[in-house]
């Protein structure tokens, strides 16, 4: 365990943070500019993972396990969320025969 921690600590923390931020930003940009819902879901997943990465890195640097435990929670919840999300997507596909996020825009003003 400590080995892994020290292995992680070889790379400076800033790099992890930077990587996470870049991943997160890519996710955000994907969410903003893609219109295919599947892709957007994947982008959100990317954001989740950037958080996971960040948490793991911090946990390693703080030598604190809770951060890593949190990652497990996140993974489980993310899975549940994706399950629900995909089912909603299926329903949507059934209703409008499309997975474009802007297809559904009857509720407005």
């Amino acid at each position: 365990m400590n080995e892994i921690t020290s292995a992680i600590q070889i790379i400076p923390l800033e790099h992890y943070i930077l990587l996470s931020i870049i991943m997160f930003s890519i996710g955000v940009l994907g969410v903003l500019f893609r219109r295919n819902t599947i892709v957007i879901l994947m982008c959100i997943e990317l954001m989740f993972n950037s958080v996971n990465l960040l948490l793991t890195a911090f946990a390693a640097y703080h030598s604190d396990l809770t951060g890593q435990v949190f990652v497990f929670f996140i993974m489980i919840v993310a899975a549940a969320e994706v399950a629900v999300g995909l089912s909603i997507l299926v329903m949507m596909k059934r209703n409008v025969d499309s997975v474009d996020i802007n297809q559904l825009n009857r509720l407005k003003w």
Partner: protein
Amino acid sequence: MVTDSYLKALVWLVPLLPLAGFLITGLGRKRLKGHIAGILASTAVVISFVLSVILFFSLRKPGTEPLTVTLFSWITTGELSVPFAFLIDPLSLTMMLIVTGVGALIHIYSIGYMHHDERVNTFFAQMNLFTFSMLLLVMGSGYLLLFIGWEGVGLCSYLLIGFWFKNPDYNYAARKAFVMNRIGDLGFLLGIILMFFTFHSLSFSEVFGKAATFDKGAPVITAITLLLLVGAVGKSAQIPLFTWLPDAMAGPTPVSALIHAATMVTAGIYMIARSGVLFNLAPVTLTVIMVLGLATAILAAIIALKQNDIKKVLAYSTVSQLGYMFLALGLGAYSAAVFHVTTHAFFKALLFLGAGSVIHAMGGEQDITRMGGLKTKLPVTFLTFAIATLAISGIPPFSGFFSKDLILAKAFEHNLVLYVFALGGALLTCFYMFRLLFVVFFGNLRSPEVHPHESPRIMTIPLMILAVLATVGGFLNMPSLLGGHSGFLAFLQPSTQSLETGELAHSTEWGLIFLSLALLGTVFWIAWRKFLKQKHIPEKDDHTLNLAGKIVYQKLYIDQIYAFLLEKPYSWLSSFLFRKVENQLLDPLVDGVGHLTSELGTLTRRFQRGNLSFYLFAMVAGILLFIVFILFV
């Protein structure tokens, strides 16, 4: 010697009786038939008159303390304490006698004059209400009480001018009278308030008592008196608030006689005479009164020259005579003014009642160009009318001579120019009165379709009584010149505090009298030549007149000027404020806030476009902005 309490009971009965008459005739106006209302109303006033006479004889002795009768406390708060109380002193007694005496005669006359009218009961109710208000006015022991009567007579005047309410013109005249009076009343009220803050009381005795501590010409006294003057100007129809009085002739003729000749319009003179103590301290105000009075006297007399409506002539004559009274007041000769009030009440009431008799006989016709030759048809009316004409023209030994001469003499003492103008006005009076007399009663009847007949006894008897009074009334105040001792003035002096002036030399007085008599004779001769000898008939309209005549015929266009300067702009302002300011500025301002909010609402909803990309974008933008905000701002 009657006891005090007995007298006090009499005092409050005097106004109470007309009030009772008003209530009975007013509430029973549906049930009272025929002459009953008239008889009831007249009885009430007659009894009041009798009571006034009793009071007069009980209190007439010189040196008798004025009688104060307190009924109840009207307003008491802080320093302001206004009891509902009557003050009986020579001045109020004089006025009470005029009001009830002349009033009683006019009431009786009205029984005959009004008996065809369907609302005769209402008429008498309102006449009684007027008498009550007028009595309050002259009997009140303080300014606020006076003000009650003051406004009360204004109301009655309004009601009676508009008595024939189906005619919009009459209603207009009534409103005009009330509003013009109200303008004066506002000044009066402000004067009262200023007086209250100056003297901390409103009762005559206390105010006059404290006024003695003020210097002559003290600004505050001048202010008070000027404000009071505004009230008097409104009520007594002086420049610039006189135009309502000619229009007030819209009312039934007895109303014109009682309210717009004998009593109400003299309330202003009464009020100033009553406040003599104050006005004596304000020479500036006296000068203003003098100028106003003289100007009014001459202006009205000029207008009267060309009027064709019998009542209009008399109305302008009233305005003119009121001007003389103001002149007297302005000279500080308050008693002389009241003396002229008295004689004027006799002869002007007589003139109006006579005119009423003529109109009655002519079936409602008021245009003198359509009359003529009534001398034989209406002998009593003619005789009494002629007496009154002589009286008003100031021809001895009729009453008007004495009172007018007194004023002229005072004017002479004061200033020669003043005298010249005053005398000129008197000559004009003589001219238009004889013009009226000649055109109406002499010559041939110019409207053949009517068959005039003398009025019934109930109308002619009051005429005769008044004729007697108009003839002998002057002897009340026989000047020392003629061996008298000016009894009337002496009687009033305790109340009015007239300014003492030196006596003129008898020779000068004789000279003045002869001068005026000579001039009057000349004027009479001109009138006689023009209207009797040449049988000149006044023009029916102004087409044939030259420019000056036209202007006079149109009453100097004063009504039109007022309409142009006041009524039209006011009406315009009213519409403007409502249409533009209220509806296009203030209301839209408020609504504008609403609309703005509403627009903001629409704008807010714009952001909710239903488009998921946009929502996400907005969220991210929000997050970024917040980051910038917390890190860099």
